[in-house]
């Protein structure tokens, strides 16, 4: 099989990676969107009507995953709602009990006041299972205490808190009059990279056409290993695993899921490494489909096995993927913790390929937390590693997102070449979201 990978393509583009770390320090306020992306959300007028009409106790949930956007939204409503708004940030009030904190803040509130509660996610983060359990239980059992406040109560929360409340505190949740959702603006959506923790990165460097050829070939070979012997089974599992990876990289998640599940089924019991790898891949597919509960279920199973057998690279990779799930649901504290753990392992064992996604993902969290300096630094290190290890997939992801960040900061001089590089690599490897990158490039280049 002739392998003409994308490697050549990468080498052709000279990326002055070092310059980015020295790039003029961007001002955080430059990124703070002054145009309020949530103004276009269909749920905003609904929420405003509900709040204008609300009297006495009623319970509302506003779902928004970006911390900064939650604050902006709260500020905007405060200015535009003709009622007094009292904002309570539970993050700032530990170690008090959240219900007591809300009650204290509501004390002496004007009759028409609406209470905004932020920071409930702090009490519900996975990092502290005991606190999470106690908080959920308290909300369910002591909902009457909140009702006695006799004012409308608006919880502004990230996604991960919603299923926890709906399932864990059904009686509390049952009282809600409405859930209002504010999606993340499209351009913020390129996000995290997943990783498999398998040292073979050859698939990452294939073009789309090569991937299709390989799929065809593997499917043919598969028939030859349909027999019942151990060897045939092992081979068949391996092939299916590869097929799954190929399908997954092309965005064919149904086919990929099927391939991994079949691989898992015929995998020998003693091949723990292979089993863990399959579980991790299945977790990734659920991540791609935004089914985070299922994703975490598989990832945790994978993590446990990888820890058991001392597969350090695998452990780092799965931790990284778990961070992606936490991040997507807006639990940034947990996400960052997993990533730090992952990066420490990868640095220790010198897993440079594994560090690319981890650094990339950390950069995203810094970005969301408005720590722009750290974000650029992490992205730059990831870019440098992608260049050194000739990793096309890493190159694509990092140059796409760092390019976007720099362009948003007004540094199109460095941002545009990165976006261009991303488009070029993305097209060649058949990345599912390359059209969006093209649109971004047009937007920033057109100015």
């Amino acid at each position: 099989m002739k392998k003409k990978t994308l490697k050549k393509k990468i080498a052709d583009i000279s990326v002055p990676a070092k310059e980015y770390s020295k790039a003029k320090q961007p001002q955080p306020k430059a990124i703070s969107s002054t145009e309020f992306p949530f103004l276009a959300a269909p749920d905003l007028p609904r929420l405003m009507r509900a709040l204008r009409r609300a009297q006495g106790f009623s319970l509302y949930f506003v779902r928004c995953n970006l911390p900064q956007m939650r604050q902006e939204l709260s500020n905007w409503i405060k200015q535009n709602l003709a009622k007094p708004v009292i904002e309570i940030n539970l993050h700032n009030t530990p170690p008090a009990d959240p219900i007591l904190a809300i009650k204290a803040a509501a004390e002496g509130a004007p009759e028409k006041a609406v209470l905004f509660v932020m920071g409930l996610e702090y009490w519900l983060t996975e990092l502290n299972a005991e606190r999470q359990r106690e908080t959920i239980r308290a909300l369910n059992w002591r909902r009457n205490e909140l009702a006695r406040i006799n004012r409308p109560l608006v919880f502004i929360v990230p996604e991960f808190t919603i299923p926890l409340l709906a399932e864990g505190a059904p009686d509390f949740w049952d009282w809600h009059s409405g859930l209002y959702e504010f999606a993340i603006p499209k351009q913020e959506k390129f996000t995290m990279m997943v990783q498999d923790g398998i040292q073979d990165t050859s698939i990452n460097n294939l073009t789309e056409e090569q991937k299709r050829e390989r799929i065809l070939l593997l499917n043919q070979i598969l028939d030859e290993y349909a027999g019942p012997t151990e060897l045939e089974k092992r081979k068949s599992a391996e092939i299916r695993y590869q097929l799954g990876q190929l399908y997954s990289s092309l965005g064919h998640y149904d086919k990929a899921l099927k391939a991994f599940q079949e691989a898992l089924k015929i995998q020998e019991k003693k091949n723990k490494k292979g089993i863990a790898a399959c579980l991790n891949e299945i977790g990734e597919i659920y991540l791609a489909r935004a089914n985070y509960d299922m994703a975490l279920k598989y990832l945790k199973e994978s993590l446990q096995i990888r820890r058991e057998i001392g597969d350090r690279a695998g452990e780092g990779a799965t931790l990284n993927n778990m961070a992606t799930a936490a991040y997507a649901r807006g639990d940034y504290d947990t996400a960052l913790r997993y990533l730090e753990e992952s990066l420490a392992i990868q640095r220790e064992i010198g897993d440079r390929a594994g560090m690319i996604p981890t650094l990339h993902n950390m950069a995203h969290i810094f970005w969301q937390n408005q720590q722009i300096e750290e974000a650029v630094k992490s992205f730059s290190e990831a870019l440098q590693l992608a260049l050194e290890t000739q990793n096309a997939l890493g190159m694509y992801n990092v140059s796409r997102d760092l390019g976007l960040l720099l362009c948003q900061l007004g540094d199109t001089e460095h941002g545009l070449p990165l976006l261009r590089q991303a488009v070029q690599i993305g097209r060649a490897m058949g990345a599912p979201d390359v059209e969006e990158v093209e649109a971004l490039l047009r937007r920033f280049a057109g100015k």
Binding site: R46, L47, R49, A50, R53, E130, E134, R137, N140, W141, I162, P163, A166, E167, P170, D171, D174, H176, S177, G178, L179, E181, Q261, N291, D293, M294
Partner: protein
Amino acid sequence: MLAAFSGQIRSGSTRKIEIRRELEKELTVFISRLNELIDDVQIQLKKKGWQGLVAIVDGLEKMHYRIQPDGQSTHSELFVQHAEQLKSPHCHILYTVPISLLFNVNLGDSFAETDVIPMVKIQEHGTKKSYRPGVDALYEIVVKRVEMEAIFDQHGDVKRLIQASGGSVRDLMRLLRFACDETDTKINRAHVEHAIQRLVREYDRLVRDEDLEGLKQIAATQQIPGDETSGRLLHHRLVLEYVNDDRWADLHPAVRECPRVKKALKSPKDTHSK
């Protein structure tokens, strides 16, 4: 003793464990003291011409559901294993129990009677024809809360909301609020449909992939199989239970509209194991 406990029961979790341990040790003492108190109250009541005492213990249905290390759920631990203690006070007692429990174990063995407060029946079992008395009753509830003429374009829109609620009053109220969120003036059919879509989205969150098989089965049989998962389905109102001549169940209309459920209901394959 009672007063001393209730004062402390809300403080810290380790304290709670201590209290619980203490209670279990002294349970018989506790119950006999409680009965002394109740007996005394009964005598006082009879003197005043009352027949007796009924205690309503509300809120136990909110009990945390967890499978214990011994494989038993916290629910059945209390209501089955400790049924004798629950029945020991010298008066009539009404407990509210988690609905899931009714299907997991035979509560009838331990307790005199179990009653289910079903959803309001709005359609006939089997024929799916609208059931007037149920619909009218829900209509009355809406009329009592809003000025119908001022808010709705046509009465048919209210009927549509009622149908979408599946006979759950809580969901009907939520749908009503959702419809009101849509407009500053009168609610029309489009607003009503938007409101229903919002409810569908909320239920879509609660449906797990592993629920699909069970939902499919219930949609087909209109009966609730007695296993762990159906408890969850009932608890979150993904499945609604109705009682008239017989007991039957169906998917919440909003659950029926969830894309994944729709797809699963259409697919002919009956089993699809992992």
